[in-house]
């Protein structure tokens, strides 16, 4: 296999794995109206990168830990005097700024920040692939296992209580899955665009869905199409890969919106 084949195939596999895990999770993000929650958690990831470099730790666990802490802090602080939106606005951008400052303070390290901000899917290694597909598998299993409980808790906390489900515990499951997807996705689209892979396919799937399950499956399909299509377009037109994937997803969203309107 030539070099070209191998890096394109790696990239395609990385994008696919990412999209398939992000889309069903993204449905929950959309249903629970926590789009900015994904953003805040993702932006904290750059702080994780800085800390990993400073203490010479592997990037993936550091990013995972910082994203998780961020998500937990936001969950705990919400509803205590600040509106969720305000809190997320503060935390998301502060975490990003803090991360950028922290990276610049580390001596002797010259890293390519754009690789973390926008991802570097063409440089995905075999190890990265294993991490991405491993992370995706964990997220999917987690969602599969808790699906009914998660759905009930998302629908209505009172309904969940009546069925013996703790909404807070289910929220924790989602938070964990979200942190995992973000840690995994940083290589593919970067911290600035992760939230788009979560939300755009789910939003594009909405007009075609009559049940939550169907929406999750359609979102995963659209995410996969966006990842492969975006990669192809980026290769053909020599554009940055991560943003091209997001643009492709957006194109699908527009098409689905038009189709939805025409049908309604």
């Amino acid at each position: 296999m030539s070099l070209l084949d191998s890096f394109l195939i790696h990239a395609a596999l990385a994008g696919l794995g990412m999209a398939i895990a992000a889309a069903p999770l993204g449905c929950f993000v959309v249903w629970r109206r926590m789009a900015y929650f994904g953003d805040a958690t993702a932006h904290a990831a750059i702080l994780g990168v800085a800390l990993a470099l400073a203490f010479q730790l592997p990037i993936f666990p550091a990013v995972l830990a910082v994203s998780l802490i961020m998500a937990l802090v936001v969950t705990q602080l919400s509803g205590r005097g600040y509106a969720m939106g305000t809190l997320l606005g503060v935390m998301a951008h502060s975490a990003l700024a803090l991360g950028l400052v922290a990276v610049s303070l580390i001596e002797g390290v010259r890293i390519d920040l754009t690789a973390y901000l926008f991802g570097d899917i063409l440089a995905v290694s075999r190890t990265d692939l294993a991490v991405i597909w491993g992370g995706a598998a964990v997220v999917l299993v987690l969602l599969w296992w808790r699906w009914s409980a998660l759905l009930t808790a998302t629908l209505n906390p009172d309904l969940a209580y009546a069925a013996g489900i703790h909404p807070k515990r289910e929220e924790l499951v989602l938070t964990l899955a979200l942190a995992l997807v973000i840690a995994v996705a940083i290589k593919v689209v970067g911290v600035l665009l992760i939230a788009s892979l979560l939300i755009i396919p789910a939003a594009a799937a909405r007009p075609f869905a009559t049940t939550p399950e169907r929406m999750a499956v359609v979102a995963a399909l659209l995410g996969g199409v966006a990842a492969l299509g975006g990669l192809g377009l980026a290769y053909h037109y020599d554009t940055p890969t991560g943003p091209t994937i997001v643009c492709t997803a957006f194109g699908l969203f527009v098409l689905s919106g038009v189709a939805g309107l025409r049908r309604a």
């Binding site: 109206r33 409980a149 629908l155 009172d158 069925a163 009559t210 049940t211």
Partner: protein, 186 residues
């Protein structure tokens, strides 16, 4: 059965899928519960598209899925217009007769309470008076209350089973806050 339930329109959900959450009931149970609640034609509809009356019937079907011996309704007709509300109470009365389940109902609608129930408890922070509707209607506390108080919580019960239950288990009754249960097998 709760007072109301908000379902976000971002979540696509058919009535049938809603009734199958969190546990899928046995085959045919959903259709049967919907039919009993007078909502047999709604199974494929989206929850977000239902009218107030349809929504209440679906919630009722959800409560019936558990084959309840006691049906607890917390101001179940809130947001319904007069005919809708009357139809709903008629449905409840029919269910009580057919399924033999007791009905515990919180309501502000005095005429329904007085006309359709076997036993009435008038709450106004405390138990103000109780008994058969005729008894309550003639109680001096009741008359005094409706001279001035605007908000009273009414509990009326369906059968003698529940009368007994209420006597032995006073914690069944909330103080002032309506309870938030869907349904509870006695």
């Amino acid at each position: 059965m709760p007072q109301k339930l908000h379902i976000d329109s971002t979540l696509p959900l058919t009535v049938a899928r809603f009734l199958a959450l969190p546990k899928r009931p046995v085959r045919g149970a959903i259709a049967q519960a919907l039919a009993e609640a007078g909502a047999g034609d709604l199974a494929a509809r989206q929850m977000a598209d239902l009218s107030g009356g349809q929504f209440q019937r679906v919630l009722l079907a959800r409560a019936l899925l558990n084959r309840p011996e006691l049906l607890i309704l917390d101001e179940a007709t809130q947001g319904l217009d007069q005919p809708g509300s009357a139809a709903f109470y008629e449905l409840i009365a029919g269910l009580r007769d057919r399924l033999g389940c007791a009905v515990l109902m919180v309501s502000h609608e005095l005429h329904v309470v007085m006309a359709a129930s076997d036993r009435v408890i008038c709450l106004n922070g405390h138990i103000c008076c109780e008994g058969a509707p005729e008894q309550v209607a003639s109680a001096p506390e009741y008359r005094a209350l409706f001279g001035r108080a605007r908000k009273a919580h009414w509990h009326s019960t369906g059968t003698s089973i529940i009368t007994a239950m209420m006597r032995h288990a006073p914690m069944m009754m909330p103080k002032h806050r309506p309870m938030r249960r869907l349904s509870e097998p006695a």
